[in-house]
């Protein structure tokens, strides 16, 4: 105990070092814990299944035609036939005046299931929550999870104004209803919004006996189908990639944190070599010393992990609504925003940090304990030791890069892809000291002998690579990740933008079809120059390559160059288009190819009427979480002659007044807003969804940069502790304070810039890895990279700026100290 106290006294004298060790542990934990908690929360939500007023339906009745709504009298008829496990549901996405898309659920509280089939014993629930009183009658209520309320920057009682000018019911923050991203209101209130159809999106089927559910299936009208919750796509499976990516970001921050821990430990042990030597001379054994130092680390670990975990949980609570929005938009999967976060295992971060810290302390500990008792410690940064260490790191780095390249080529597994990405990042970072040293050596040759100060600066910088390399590596790691992710997101956005431009071949899109069958006649009369294309859509299931039965969307493509050219094929032979138009084959989406495993050239079974049809080509289908097959309109019609059009596309010559055409069509068919949308609005909506989807990624990305900033600040501060003597020497040589300051800043800026030399190529490589390996494996989408150098220049400025800031504060302190004091301080170490 006495021993630990003696050792800990060091931190009293150098509190900053203790603080930096703690910061390292916290940093390693925050994002790791944050992403772990988010993932655990989402999994808990998936495990619970979709819930409505605390009741989980056994399934839903849906219209057989995708996206078609159900007439309410279908529902009433089924209830009148005695199927009391049914409840109506209307889903509606509305647009708020500020452009935010809001997903609303309309339910009938009178029909929601009661606990158990039979009535429960006792007096039932005695909760008297006045919220219900207002739910079903004017002015109604809009129930919202408090997380969502914060996300929208609204408070209880507020009323959201829609783009139509109408007001939604007053908001009520509701606890414990697993609401998540969606908001809940009375179905009557929802249908009262102008333009909302008096139809149902689905009929919820609540649990009943197997016989009763079979009876229900047998009594369904032709156009309805019963989709059991068990048969619905498993959200956990669907979102696996997303959660893995999230975990990977957490792990990356963890690695940055581990660098910081190593850095802090190395300095702390090095500084205490003299103390350790004295203790050894006083008779303390190595074993006792090692035990004391390990106990000290355990104390730091416990404090740092708890603090890091707590911060991580706060971060998770803050990010969860964003994650919920992403999942909703990306996968149509909804997670709950809990009132309190599920307790997720703190053990894993603790264990990981513990193991990492143990590894980190191993080398500095051994070096400190093995110091010969009668020697002073100045040999620490000796040239041989450093260059040997750098050689090992370079070899390891090259090996990691090789591994990454091999994995990039061969993997189709997300875990391996992410491992490859980690190898790429670490490999790049391990090469950093060697690359920097090589650059300094190169500079040294170019500098004329009479530029003494510059030569000194170079020599000093080379020396600096020893103690500072870890901090620089941590910063470089974060910068490479940041640059890579930024390039990836921007490239993906640009690709989506161009893809939307190409794919939206028509000018107006109309959703829903049966009542619009005479749209051709209407347009021939009103606007003879325009043409109409029917769009068909159907859901089927087929066995993918991995024996799994997967849902497949079948969509039709109108004939004619305008439409066939709107689909860009990824490597298909020149006859593909002709064969496609002749109905001799199909196109498949990139996801169908990459994830579900159908190969170009392979034959697939489309429908009963046609035998096996070859896959003629692969097209990109960004944002679609399920596989899609595209067939010509004629082929679709011959497969499913009874299928009504799911919508129409209207197109015509340039210069057409589309607003007027829109008005004519919606007046004629009495179409509500949302059923008819023009190309421009559709594209804007698509890109808005994209931006919201990547909001969480961008937030996490910014956080890693922040982590890097903290890291570099800690490291530079720690290094400057050790630079006192060197500054004293310079001062003694007559170099002024101002000159010394300039030298220091110049030195670190050069180091920062040189790091950027590594960040640029490896950031690009990482982006390429994400775009061509990780995203295709995770989502089935690939996209060309857009090399945006402007963005890297901004990053460089940011890096140098944050580095300068990190240098300035410790430097100011250093410069304030008088040379005499510096020399005194030097001798006391």
């Amino acid at each position: 105990m006495m021993l630990i106290r003696t050792l800990l006294k060091h931190y009293r004298r150098h509190p900053v070092q203790g603080l930096f060790l703690l910061v390292g542990i916290v940093v390693a934990n925050v994002l790791l814990a944050g992403t772990l908690v988010i993932n655990a929360q989402a999994r808990a939500s998936y495990g619970q299944g979709e819930q409505f007023l605390s009741a989980a339906p056994a399934g839903q009745l849906r219209h057989r035609e995708p996206r078609r709504s159900i007439d309410t009298d279908d529902y009433v008829r089924l209830r009148l036939a005695g199927f009391d496990m049914l409840a109506p549901l209307q889903r509606q996405t509305v647009r708020a005046a500020n452009g935010e898309l809001l997903e609303l659920l309309g339910i009938d509280v009178f029909t929601m299931p009661r606990p158990g089939g039979m009535l429960p014993d006792g007096r039932g629930d005695q909760n008297r929550d006045p919220g219900f009183l207002e739910f079903a009658y004017p002015p109604y209520q809009l129930w919202v999870a408090s997380g969502r309320l914060n996300q929208l920057d609204l408070k209880e009682g507020d009323r959201i104004v829609l783009s139509s000018g109408e007001l939604l019911p007053p908001l009520a923050a509701i606890r414990g209803q697993q609401l998540g991203h969606r908001m809940l209101t009375d179905i009557g209130a929802l249908q009262a919004l102008s333009g909302n159809p008096a139809t149902l999106s689905a009929i919820l089927v609540f649990p009943a006996s197997a016989e009763r559910l079979a009876e229900l299936s047998a009594n369904l009208p032709e156009h309805l189908e019963f989709i059991r919750s068990d048969d619905a796509p498993d959200p956990q499976e669907l979102t696996r990639s997303f959660h893995l990516n999230l975990a990977a970001m957490g792990l990356m921050a963890f690695v940055v944190g581990v660098f910081l821990i190593y850095n802090a430990l190395a300095f702390s042990y090095t500084d205490r070599r003299e103390l350790i030597r004295k203790l050894r001379l006083a008779g303390v054994t190595r074993r006792e010393l090692a035990l004391a130092l390990v106990s000290e680390l355990v104390l730091f670990l416990a404090a740092g992990t708890v603090l890091g975990y707590w911060l991580g949980a706060q971060l998770a609570a803050w990010l969860l609504p964003g994650v919920g929005r992403t999942l909703a938009q990306l996968y149509d999967v909804y997670i709950a925003y809990p009132d309190s976060l599920v307790p997720s295992a703190i053990l894993l971060p603790l264990l990981m940090t513990g193991v990492a810290a143990a590894l980190c302390m191993l080398i500095p500990l051994r070096e400190s304990l093995n110091t010969p008792m009668l020697e002073r410690w100045q040999t620490r940064w000796q040239h041989q030791v450093i260059s040997q260490r750098e050689r090992v790191m370079s070899v390891a780095g090259l090996m990691l890069l090789g591994t990454s390249a091999i994995l990039a080529y061969y993997t189709s597994d997300l875990w391996l892809a992410l491992t490859g990405m980690a190898a790429l990042l670490l490999g790049a970072v391990l090469l950093l000291p060697t690359v920097l040293r090589m650059l300094f050596n190169l500079f040294a040759k170019c500098i004329p002998a009479h530029r003494v100060r510059l030569s000194w600066l170079l020599a000093d910088s080379r020396w600096l690579l020893g103690p500072a390399s870890l901090a620089l590596m941590a910063m470089t790691l974060a910068l490479v990740a940041n640059s890579g992710l930024n390039t990836m997101i921007n490239s993906f956005r640009l690709a989506t933008d161009q893809w939307l431009d190409q794919r939206l071949a028509a000018d107006l899109y109309l959703r829903g079809g049966t009542e619009m069958t005479d749209i051709g006649a209407l347009l021939a009369r009103e606007a003879p120059g325009l043409r109409v294309a029917e769009r068909y859509h159907r859901r089927i299931t087929r066995q993918g390559s991995s024996e799994r039965i997967v849902p497949v969307e079948i969509v039709s493509l109108q004939d004619g160059d305008r439409f066939t050219n709107s689909v860009e094929l990824m490597g298909a032979d020149e006859n593909a288009r002709i064969e496609f138009e002749n109905g001799e084959g199909i196109y498949i989406s990139e996801r169908a190819w990459r994830i579900d495993g159908w190969q170009p050239g392979e034959s697939v079974r489309l429908c009963q009427t046609h035998g096996q049809l070859p896959v003629l080509g692969v097209y990109r289908d960004y944002g679609n979480p399920s596989s899609q097959w595209m067939v010509s309109r004629e082929l679709f019609r011959s497969c499913w002659p009874g299928e009504a059009a799911a919508g129409f596309a209207v197109y015509g010559p340039d210069g057409t007044d589309w607003n007027q055409i829109k008005a004519v069509i919606s007046n004629h068919f009495n179409l509500p807003e949302g059923r008819i949308i023009d190309q421009h609005a559709l594209k804007q909506a698509g890109l808005a969804v994209f931006d919201r989807t990547f909001k969480v990624t961008r937030s996490l990305n910014a956080l890693t940069l922040l982590v890097a900033g903290i890291g570099i600040f800690c490291a530079i501060s720690a290094i400057h502790h050790h630079r006192v003597g060197q500054q004293a020497l310079l001062a003694a040589l007559g170099i002024t304070r101002r000159e010394r300051g300039a030298l220091l800043l110049l030195q670190w800026s050069v180091l920062g810039l040189l790091c950027m030399l590594l960040v640029w190529p490896f950031g690009g490589l990482l982006a390429g890895y994400l775009a061509n390996v990780v995203t295709p494996v995770a989502f089935g989408w690939s996209f060309p990279l857009d090399w945006n150098f402007h963005q890297n220049a901004v990053l460089a400025a940011l890096a140098i700026g944050s580095m300068t800031l990190a240098v300035v504060l410790p430097t100011l302190r250093l410069l304030r100290i008088s040379p005499a004091a510096m020399l005194r301080e030097q001798t006391t170490i």
Partner: protein, 377 residues
């Protein structure tokens, strides 16, 4: 927050206010009383002088706050085992007429609630459902109409089998339990109270109330999947009002009895305070001759005496009664078929089959008893 609280807060007080069912004096329920004190402002009031007219008044009266179609049946099977069946549809207007113009069918101000229960020698089951009024594509999950008569929630239906009001049929099913009975009578219906206006308070409040106590019932019950042919006697009550109970009235004891003499006897008392059977109660009784002639009983000549209280669902409920009716020289002893006929619904009450014992056919028979407003211990 779970769903039941919706019903206990939103719907129940509205029903309680009029029906007095399940009023509970437990302190935590004071919020119910606040609602109970609501006035019937905006709704049409039930007042003496209104001439009931049929088939018009078999249908719903949406301008009144509350209304019900209430059927009870005393049945027996071929082995002379006794059963009871209850089917009730309540209609509640949650907003006064004209208070809110519904923009769509869901926004109807009419809410329906139904109960159905079966009592067998082995036990008692009770079920409930809710629905809003409002038509979707010409059909409605719940409602009532006068010609041809029907009252329903989903597949729980009481309806005329032909164009006349009688005969009618009642059907309801929930899981493995169902009732399916044909109901017939050639006797006239009975206008209760003063030509159909039934006073419920000394100050004059009340409801419109008529009955068909002469129904014969035959059909089958399904109990846990087992179908049992039954036959017996049934009693249909129809009542509607906007303010039925006054604030200080907390519950009632109600009897509808088929006497072996062919007479029918209806008695009730509205209790002012819990457990007080003697003072402040409002009593009413009528004896109906086999031909439909009415003898109104003077309140002071209706003497209720509780012979035995039994713990049921955490309450002490009077399960055996002695009723003296000196005006018509009757002394009846009434006992529950069994005490477990608790209606464990959102606002629970006791409703069940009883036997009437006394000397001679004029003092014995079968019937139904309803006990509401007893506080849990």
């Amino acid at each position: 927050m779970t769903l039941p609280s919706l019903y206990s807060v939103f719907l129940l007080p509205a029903l309680l206010m009029v029906a007095g069912c399940g009023v509970n004096e437990a302190p935590e329920q004071t919020s119910d009383f606040a609602v109970l004190a609501q006035s019937a402002e905006g709704y049409t009031s039930a007042r003496p002088g209104y001439a009931l007219e049929f088939p018009r008044d078999h249908g719903p009266h949406p301008d009144y706050r509350i209304e019900w179609w209430y059927l009870t049946a005393n049945l027996q099977d071929s082995n002379s085992r006794h059963y009871g069946a209850q089917w009730t549809l309540f209609r509640v207007a949650v907003q006064p007429p004209g208070a809110h113009q519904p923009g769509n069918a869901w926004q109807s101000s009419q809410v329906y609630m139904a109960h159905f229960a079966i009592t067998s020698p082995e036990g008692h089951v009770a079920f409930q459902r809710y629905a809003r009024g409002g038509e979707h594509g010409g059909i409605s999950r719940s409602g009532a109409r006068n010609q041809p008569f029907a009252a329903w929630i989903d597949d729980w239906v009481l309806s005329s089998t032909g164009s006349d009001w009688l005969p009618m049929a009642v059907r309801a099913q929930q899981g493995n339990y169902s009732i399916s009975l044909e109901l017939a009578s050639d006797k006239p219906l009975i206008l209760q109270g003063d030509a159909g206006f039934s006073q419920k308070h000394p100050a004059g409040g009340g409801s419109f109330y008529y009955s068909q106590p002469f129904l014969t019932a035959s059909g089958e019950l399904e109990l846990d999947g087992q179908r049992i042919p039954v036959s017996g006697l049934a009693w249909l009550d129809r009542e509607w009002s906007s303010q039925f109970l006054q604030g200080e009235q907390v519950g009632w004891d109600w009897f509808s009895l088929h006497l072996e003499s062919g007479e029918k006897l209806m008695l009730f008392q509205l209790r002012q305070r819990p457990g007080d059977f003697q003072t402040g109660t409002f009593r009413h009784g009528v004896l109906i001759s086999p031909q439909g002639g009415k003898t109104l009983l003077k309140p002071e000549h209706i003497i209720f005496q509780v012979l035995e209280q039994t713990p049921v669902a955490g309450r002490n409920l009077p399960m055996r009664w002695r009723i003296e009716l000196p005006q018509i020289e009757r002394i009846l002893e009434i006992g529950a078929l069994h005490s477990d006929q608790w209606m464990n619904v959102d606002f629970p009450y006791w409703e069940g089959a009883v036997t009437v014992n006394g000397s001679g056919p004029q003092n014995s028979g079968r019937g139904y008893m309803e006990l509401t407003g007893y506080a849990a211990d």
